[in-house]
């Protein structure tokens, strides 16, 4: 990745903006683009640049803090913290499997062949190694 990491929201997507921000930040955190010890831009700055309400960004930061990704302290920038990977609970795995099946179905319905989907999944898995 070149330059600072970016997040993009799409108002036409139907997904709530809070979820879009949280999801994209989570991707950056999981992929290591935002490393432990990194300070995130302030809620005010991100909200102004995205043209959304302060509370929307604050809520996304709060969600990530609850998941253990961020440390939020009043009067200080949100910090990325070292997060121990929890053992995946059975119901989480089942939920993930269900969502993956739905996603694959959507992609196939959109015309993507199964081989291409497998390639994409392998490419994503390769990025994590």
């Amino acid at each position: 990745m070149t330059g600072p990491p970016r997040i993009r929201i799409d108002l036409a997507s139907g997904a709530p903006v809070v979820r879009q921000i949280a999801d994209q930040l989570r991707v950056l955190l999981v992929e290591g683009a935002l490393k432990p010890g990194t300070a995130l831009p302030s809620v005010r700055r991100v909200a102004i640049d995205l043209g959304v309400h302060f509370n929307t960004v604050a809520e996304a930061y709060r969600q990530l803090a609850e998941e253990g990704w961020l440390d939020l302290k009043h009067g200080r920038a949100a910090m990325v913290v070292e997060r121990a990977m929890p053992a995946a609970a059975n119901h989480k795995v089942a939920d993930f499997r269900q969502r993956l099946r739905q996603l694959i179905s959507q992609m196939r319905a959109a015309g993507l062949p199964m081989e291409k989907i497998v390639d994409e999944l392998l490419a994503q898995a390769g990025r994590k190694k």
């Binding site: 330059g3 600072p4 990491p5 970016r6 997040i7 993009r8 929201i9 799409d10 108002l11 036409a12 950056l28 935002l34 990194t38 300070a39 995130l40 831009p41 005010r44 700055r45 991100v46 909200a47 102004i48 640049d49 995205l50 043209g51 959304v52 309400h53 302060f54 929307t56």
Partner: protein
């Protein structure tokens, strides 16, 4: 040249300048906008685009030319009325023409930009160097006040406070606290307001290439105002060379040119302001946008997001400036 001829020439020149600036407004806007509407590339040179600009010009040209003729050749007895009506009629025509074309062009508007992107830069949001020049105007005003105070006895009992368009004094003040210091106090309030606007335009606006030149213009205005009011205040004591009257303009001009050049530069992403939040394409009101200042859709610069609670603080400061005119009776003559 008689005083009346000189006055007609000055006001006529101002009418020509004001009309030319209004006509040029459509070309000072970013290339992807016309009358506050986001347009596709090439729309300006299309038949519809040319028709909209021509209709706007025609609406303005009528009061502009008639006003100019009245200023230059109208009856002397009605001259005072004419110099008020001519620019007012031109401005009313401009606002009406703008609103009409804004409504018409909406049918050609590009779909609303639905994606917004932000760089998670960890660089601190530092003020540009020229913002640290902010104490300058206040120092200039304090210096003028200090000079007046130490030379109080030399100030004439009566001195000019206002000059007519023929350059002759037409209102006078007496040596009193409000007449001597009033202009400096009023200017201090205006300068503080400009500095607050400059800070708001930096910290309350999106990180765009326009942020820097807008702040530069606001700082330049503060210097320009301090220069102009300082001259007025010191006039009873020291003769101001006529050339110095152009100093305030000389201070602002480079910053405005910088802003205009930046405005016309093509940019990647437009500001994420929703069309429905623009009232008549001019006023922006969006309670869900954290920005206090947003880029204008027409012309160069920024405007206030009236949906942001802090916009009331800025409006309140402006109200204080207006109230000062009533606190210092001598200022009403300015």
């Amino acid at each position: 040249m008689t005083n009346e001829m000189a006055a007609r020439a000055v006001v006529g020149g101002a009418q020509i300048f004001a009309g030319a600036m209004i006509l040029a407004g459509a070309f000072l806007a970013p290339r992807n906008k016309l009358f506050g509407v986001r347009i596709p590339a090439g729309f300006r040179s299309s038949a519809e685009g040319r028709r909209a600009v021509a209709a706007f010009r025609t609406i303005i040209a009528i009061p502009w030319v008639l006003g100019l003729a009245a200023i230059l050749f109208g009856p002397s007895a009605q001259f005072r009325l004419i110099i008020v009506l001519a620019p007012v009629a031109t401005v009313i025509a401009a606002v009406a023409g703008y609103a009409t074309q804004h409504r018409r062009l909406k049918t050609f508007a590009l779909p609303r930009v639905q994606t917004r992107e932000v760089e998670l830069t960890l660089e601190p949001d530092r003020l540009p160097w020229f913002m640290w020049l902010w104490p300058g105007p206040l120092v200039m005003l304090a210096g003028a006040a200090r000079y007046l105070s130490s030379n109080w006895d030399r100030i004439p009992e009566q001195f000019p406070l206002h000059w007519g368009i023929d350059g002759q004094p037409n209102r006078w003040g007496v040596r009193s606290f409000d007449a001597v210091y009033g202009p400096l106090i009023l200017c201090t309030e205006i300068v503080v307001w400009q500095l607050v606007l400059a800070l708001a335009s930096w910290f309350g606006a999106r990180r765009s290439p326009l942020r820097r030149p807008v702040a530069a213009v606001l700082i330049a205005i503060a210097y320009s105002m301090a220069c102009a009011f300082g001259q007025v205040s010191l006039h009873p004591l020291i003769g101001i060379p006529p050339a110095m009257l152009f100093a305030p303009i000389a201070i602002i001009a480079p910053a405005v040119i910088y802003l205009l050049r930046k405005t016309r530069e093509p940019r990647d992403s437009p500001e994420p302001t929703a069309d429905e939040c623009w009232k008549r394409g001019i006023l922006y009101y969006n309670r869900n946008d954290a920005a206090l200042m947003v880029e204008t859709r027409e012309g160069a610069g920024v405007t206030i997001n009236f949906g942001n609670p802090w916009s009331w603080a800025i409006a309140g400061l402006l109200a204080v400036n207006v109230a000062a005119l009533f606190l210092f009776p001598a200022l009403r003559t300015l």
